[in-house]
């Protein structure tokens, strides 16, 4: 089960959804908005999705996980729009006969979601500045939004900074 929503996510509902008498293990991961990253403080996050492709990609990942592990059920839900501190931005719930399968599949799904699913995160810091999180892309804080020629060389510079990642 795959969903992208602009409403708060009910993680207990998703966990219950994958529970089964065929499963001896249920593993649920929650990605939540962390307030402090290094020496910076987050005010809130905004997520933007390429909805059609994101749903399709999530469905492909669920299918691949079911091939790689003997799973009973899978539920994945991702939030878009504004997400406040402490709120849940993503849930991955997996049930399986045994815990090893549930742990492994849950971790693989979450790691891979963050690598390939076209959903992007914008940090709004406590000082009011905004920053799209695009690792490897020119990390310079975004200039005013109107079209404007840029003199920066192509390619950008990877900063290695990982601001505001989902996981706590």
């Amino acid at each position: 089960m795959i969903a992208i929503t602009d409403q708060p996510i009910d993680h207990a509902r998703l966990t219950d959804r994958v529970r089964s008498t065929r499963a001896g293990a249920v593993c649920t991961f929650l990605g939540t908005t962390r307030e402090v990253t290094g020496d910076r403080r987050t005010d809130h996050l905004d997520y933007e999705a390429y909805a059609g492709m994101a749903e399709k990609t999530l469905g492909d990942l669920e299918a691949e996980a079911r091939e790689r592990w003997a799973l009973v059920d899978v539920a994945i839900e991702h939030r878009v729009g504004r997400v406040e501190l402490g709120e849940i931005s993503v849930v991955v719930a997996v049930s399986a006969p045994h815990r090893k399968q549930a742990f492994e599949a849950c971790q693989w799904l979450m790691d891979t979601i963050k690598e390939v699913v076209p959903i992007w995160k914008k940090e709004t810091w406590a000082d009011g500045s905004e920053e799209w999180v695009h690792p490897g892309l020119d990390p310079t804080p975004d200039p005013p939004r109107v079209d404007r020629p840029t003199a920066r060389p192509a390619g950008g510079v990877a900063s290695g900074r990982r601001s505001g990642r989902l996981e706590g």
Binding site: E48, Y50, G52, M53, K56, D111, I113, K114, E115, V116, V117, P118, I119, W120, K121, K122, W132, V133, H134, P135, G136, L137, D138, D142, P143, R145, V146, D147, R148, P149, T150, R152, P153, A154, G155, G156, A158, R162, R165, L166
Partner: protein, 92 residues
């Protein structure tokens, strides 16, 4: 041919629009499209080397042909990051 390209996140913000038109020679590929976007929309030029291109909702390799009427999108790196190789390899 004129191809409409969907923009997201930093690319959408820099151009101030969720969609942009690009004139492409025919036949066109993902590589052709990269060059055309950089030339015709200087605000996106610096971003292009880091972008993936999706055609019909799938990550597309550089040699994939682009035809009129297809859904094309620029995909900035997502927050897990640094896996362009994996994504491109998946569609070869």
């Amino acid at each position: 041919m004129l191809v409409k390209i969907r923009l997201f996140a930093v690319a959408r913000q820099r151009l101030g629009s969720p969609e942009v038109g690009v004139e492409l020679p025919e036949p066109a590929t993902v590589a052709t499209l990269r060059t055309a976007v950089a030339e015709q929309h200087p605000a996106l030029a610096a971003l292009m080397p880091g972008m993936m291109v999706a055609v019909e909702g799938e990550y597309a390799a550089e040699d994939r042909e682009i035809r009129a009427g297809q859904e094309v999108a620029l995909i900035p790196p997502v927050s897990g990051g640094a896996v362009h190789d994996r994504r491109a390899a998946g569609n070869r």
